[in-house]
Symmetry: C2
Subunit: 112 residues, 2 copies
DNA sequence: TTATTATACAACCAAAAGGTTACATATATT
DNA sequence: AATATATGTAACCTTTTGGTTGTATAATAA
């Protein structure tokens, strides 16, 4: 049972679930209603997301609400950002960024 | 044959391959030597990475060099960044950032 | 020309992933 | 108490994934 964040977000359904609960917690059935696969299938996706810490379940009566807990996406953001920067650097874009920063120091109000 | 970037980077071996060729292009065998699975297995991973546009192959004699082409990681960076921000906002960290920016306007040299 | 080297790829296999239906359980509702 | 609702989970199935070995082909070296 590999349960790292990269693998968790590989599935498009799971990314949709994240999107759904990112702003408002939703109970399992409400999440499931928005997909054309079975409730059980959606439940399994939710389980995977909780197991890797991207969602927490909060019981409320007989319902369980899925609440986004997205700080573990930091790992993904950092990883992608690192290589994006490497890639940019190859094309001298990093130089432009640095140049931009220097210019900003001299002209603080400068836009773009 | 689903071949989106999220799925491509889900596999740890493929992330290692990306790391290896991120700075210097390497031929297939050189990449393969660094793993304890067969050359064929590594070759398949490389193929997946080329199919989703994260690597390009450049022939040089009988060798083929794997060259990183990582701009498509932008999609991943953007996605993770979006939800990371949403998450931060929930805890008022965004407020702090905004506050920080305002403070910076008044006291430009301020640290932290 | 005859190896040797670097790569491509077919054929096959086991395990994991993603799905299903059926059933169990706990909490409302009537 | 009886029924309905929301959820958890077992058992099963199919497809995909990640791996293997073996063979074919193209470029280089001897």
């Amino acid at each position: 049972m590999r349960r790292d964040v990269f693998q968790a977000i590989a599935d498009p359904t799971r990314r949709e679930i994240i999107q759904m609960v990112a702003t408002t917690p939703l109970n399992v059935n409400t999440v499931a209603e928005n997909f054309d696969v079975s409730r059980t299938a959606v439940y399994k996706h939710i389980k995977i997301l909780t197991e890797c810490g991207l969602i927490v379940m909060r019981q409320k009566g007989r319902e369980r609400y899925c609440e986004a807990q997205l700080e573990r996406l930091q790992e993904v953001a950092d990883w992608a950002e690192l290589y994006k920067k490497m890639w940019s650097a190859r094309f001298g874009l990093l130089d432009n960024v640095l140049e931009g920063l220097q210019a900003k120091d001299k002209k603080p109000g400068r836009k773009k």
